[in-house]
């Protein structure tokens, strides 16, 4: 089922890529230009997606007929949501780092992620503060990366 849907997604992406690529200019000296490679890649998406989906059709038919357990597996939402946690933390960092500062945002992220995996409160607190401060100072002081200061500004 997953491969079938992915195949369709690739075909749709292929169509979009070809459509966008058609708007690029051609070069005066040649019949083609910047649109050639994206169009070929779009075509690759279409053909590959078609193969991927088509290969799944007999499997899907058999599964549907046998009322396969695959459908139950697809309903396991919790692990799927849990796997999105790192993405949530990145979005949290992007949104909050400007006013909270990189160190504080990272510390909150580490703390939340450790608690989610049932680490003890004290360990989470200590590790999150230490790790975020170490990372902040390595990158901002040693490597001179202008990480957002945020609340650290008041530190001095």
């Amino acid at each position: 089922m997953r491969d079938f849907i992915l195949g369709l997604a690739f075909m749709l992406s292929g169509c979009i890529v070809i459509y966008v690529a058609r708007q690029y200019p051609t070069m005066a000296s040649l019949q083609f230009g910047p649109s050639l490679f994206p169009s070929l890649i779009g075509g690759g998406f279409l053909i590959g997606g078609l193969f991927l989906s088509a290969k799944q059709v007999p499997v899907l038919k058999a599964q549907y007929a046998a009322n396969a357990a695959e459908r139950d597996r697809l309903l396991q939402i919790r692990p799927l949501l849990a796997s999105l946690l790192p993405c949530v933390m990145i979005v949290f960092y992007i949104i909050t780092s400007e006013f909270l500062g990189a160190a504080v945002s990272l510390a909150i992220g580490i703390f939340a992620l450790m608690l989610f995996r049932k680490a003890s409160l004290l360990l989470s607190l200590v590790v999150s503060i230490l790790a975020s401060l170490i990372i902040y100072f390595i990158f901002s002081t040693y490597l001179l990366i202008p990480l957002p200061e945020g609340l650290m500004r008041f530190w001095g």
């Binding site: 997953r2 491969d3 992915l6 690739f10 890529v17 966008v20 690529a21 690029y24 200019p25 070069m27 000296s29 040649l30 019949q31 230009g33 910047p34 490679f37 994206p38 890649i41 690759g44 998406f45 590959g48 997606g49 193969f51 991927l52 290969k55 692990p79 799927l80 849990a82 796997s83 999105l84 946690l85 790192p86 993405c87 933390m89 990145i90 979005v91 960092y93 992007i94 990189a102 990272l106 992220g109 580490i110 992620l113 450790m114 989610f116 995996r117 049932k118 680490a119 360990l123 590790v127 999150s128 790790a131 975020s132 990372i135 990158f139 490597l143 001179l144 990366i145 202008p146 990480l147």
Partner: protein, 504 residues
């Protein structure tokens, strides 16, 4: 001679030696934690190398990858969980030996074979690369186009699993390589009005997203913490090793040769080298049945191959700028950043950098002996580090590392999007190596195609007008036709055997 001395001078200084030492400890740590691969270790290291001189930067990458490949054997032996995919081929044998109280002996053999494999591959790198570079000097855009296409095609045909998925993975990498201003016309492509995308997508956030964020998402989507810990053995690390080496030295040479050869093929990394070497070793062994039941011979075969594969992958990377595996794909990016453009001229620039690189390879493999020995003795520290503590810290490194490339939050978004997509694809068994190769080689492929077309006024037959170009083109076509030829050959063989049966 002066260039060689210059190369030695670039390596034997306090900074580079300290970097090698630190990178080897880092490599051991990352490799020994299940779920963190050698590629991920290198991807995490790249933002740091950004601020180093060329030689320490390359030394850090070479040492980390070599150490991580070896130390992946530690959790494989004790926990039956390969630390890196390269240890997967012989994890069964290693763990069964550990359960019979021979863990340190097994790891001792692993260590010596890894050092041997690494040095064997480096010797091939030192002697083969300069000769190949002389041939590569004859290459024009036609040959480079075919070579890039050959590398990309290999990544599909060598990939484990579905070729359609490998093809689609490659297409994703190629699409990413087209983002930014077109080199020929200057037209912006897939930039969506974002100024940060005009220069193209930086490969580092993509690497971090594909390898590190993807692993993190898989970890949070699972329940296990991988810390089931059997009692650690107390047998000797090196006492039994000479006996095993005496019995299985041909396996070491065969493993080293297979590893170097497979490593040099674009898209095939140390993991594939280990699997093939293990299979070949089993096929030629007098004790075939013992393989998989806790037999040292298979471990000798495969652990020599995976480390020599690391060195082998550098041959096409240095000579042609075509990466042999995902680690060298990252390395090529680093080389460009450091002004060491990979290609035949790297052997002739007179700066001694290439000799420094060779020396770094030898040092990285030699330093593996003491550091690896210490790691085996203190295996508990590496294996017991809880991943629930480690993973959030790694995520922070990913965020700050992606940001630090251009001091831009756009790169963090790119890492996030690529990581999310890679996670979906990885769950559906899509290989990631073709995507990386597509990203790295996409620009080479397109630019060489376009400049060849300009040179030939759009005549496609010009791609077959030069002897080497025609040979490489024929090889690519043969590769693409190989599935059809295989089917045809099997049908022909079956038909013949049926006829023979009817006649008899």
């Amino acid at each position: 001679m002066d260039t060689i001395l210059l190369g030695l001078q670039l390596v034997f200084n306090v900074e580079t030696l300290l970097v090698i030492l630190a990178a080897s400890v880092f490599g051991v740590f990352v490799g020994a934690v299940p779920g963190l691969t050698a590629t991920m270790a290198v991807a995490l290291l790249v933002p740091i190398t950004f601020y180093m001189d060329p030689v320490p930067a390359i030394a850090a990458i070479v040492t980390t990858s070599a150490m991580a490949i070896f130390s992946g054997d530690i959790p494989a032996t004790y926990l039956n969980i390969p630390g890196t995919p390269s240890s997967a081929a012989y994890v069964g044998d290693s763990h069964l030996l550990a359960r019979s109280g021979r863990a340190r002996e097994t790891l001792g053999v692993n260590l010596v074979c890894s050092v041997f494999g690494g040095i064997f591959g480096t010797i091939i790198l030192v002697f083969v690369s300069p000769s190949l570079a002389e041939v590569a000097l004859q290459f024009s855009s036609f040959e480079y186009f075919w070579l890039a296409l050959l590398g990309l095609s290999c990544s599909i045909f060598i990939a484990i699993g579905s070729r359609v998925k490998a093809f689609l993975s490659l297409m994703i990498g190629l699409l990413l390589s087209t983002v930014g201003l077109d080199m020929m016309s200057g037209a912006p492509r897939f930039t969506f009005g974002i100024p940060d995308l005009m220069a193209g997508i930086n490969f580092i956030p993509v690497m971090i997203g594909m390898f590190a964020l993807n692993e993190l998402m898989l970890f949070y989507g699972s329940r296990g913490d991988g810390k089931a810990m059997p009692s650690l053995s107390k047998d000797s690390v090196f006492t039994q090793v000479p006996g095993h080496l005496k019995a299985y030295w041909p396996n070491m040479f065969r493993g080293g040769s297979i590893g170097t050869l497979i490593g040099a093929l674009p898209g095939a990394g140390a993991d594939i080298a280990a699997w093939i070497s293990y299979a070949v070793g089993k096929g030629r062994s007098k004790q075939k049945d013992a393989y998989g039941t806790g037999h040292i011979e298979g471990i000798v075969d495969a652990s020599s191959a995976n480390n020599s594969g690391i060195s082998g992958a550098w041959v096409p990377a240095l000579v042609f700028g075509i990466p042999g595996d995902s680690i060298t794909a990252i390395v090529i990016g680093v080389l460009y950043m450091k002004g060491m453009n990979p290609g035949p001229t790297i052997f002739m620039d007179g700066s001694g950098l290439i000799y420094a690189l060779f020396v770094v390879f030898f040092l990285a493999n030699l330093v593996m002996l003491p550091i690896g020995y210490a790691a085996i003795r203190s295996a508990k520290v590496f294996i017991l580090t809880p991943r629930k503590v480690l993973m959030p810290i790694i995520l922070c490194f990913c965020i700050v590392g992606a940001f630090s490339i251009n001091n831009s939050i756009t790169d963090v978004w790119i890492m996030l999007i690529i990581g999310a997509v890679a996670s979906i694809l990885a769950r559906c068994d899509f290989p990631m190596a073709p995507a990386i190769l597509g990203l790295v080689l996409g620009t080479t492929l397109e630019n060489n195609f376009m400049s060849s077309m300009l040179k030939s006024n759009g005549d496609l037959l010009a791609f077959f007008s030069r002897p080497i170009s025609a040979g490489l083109g024929a090889l690519v076509i043969l590769l693409w036709l190989s599935p059809l030829l295989t089917v045809a050959y099997k049908k022909f063989k079956n038909a013949n055997s049926n006829k023979a049966q009817e006649l008899s």
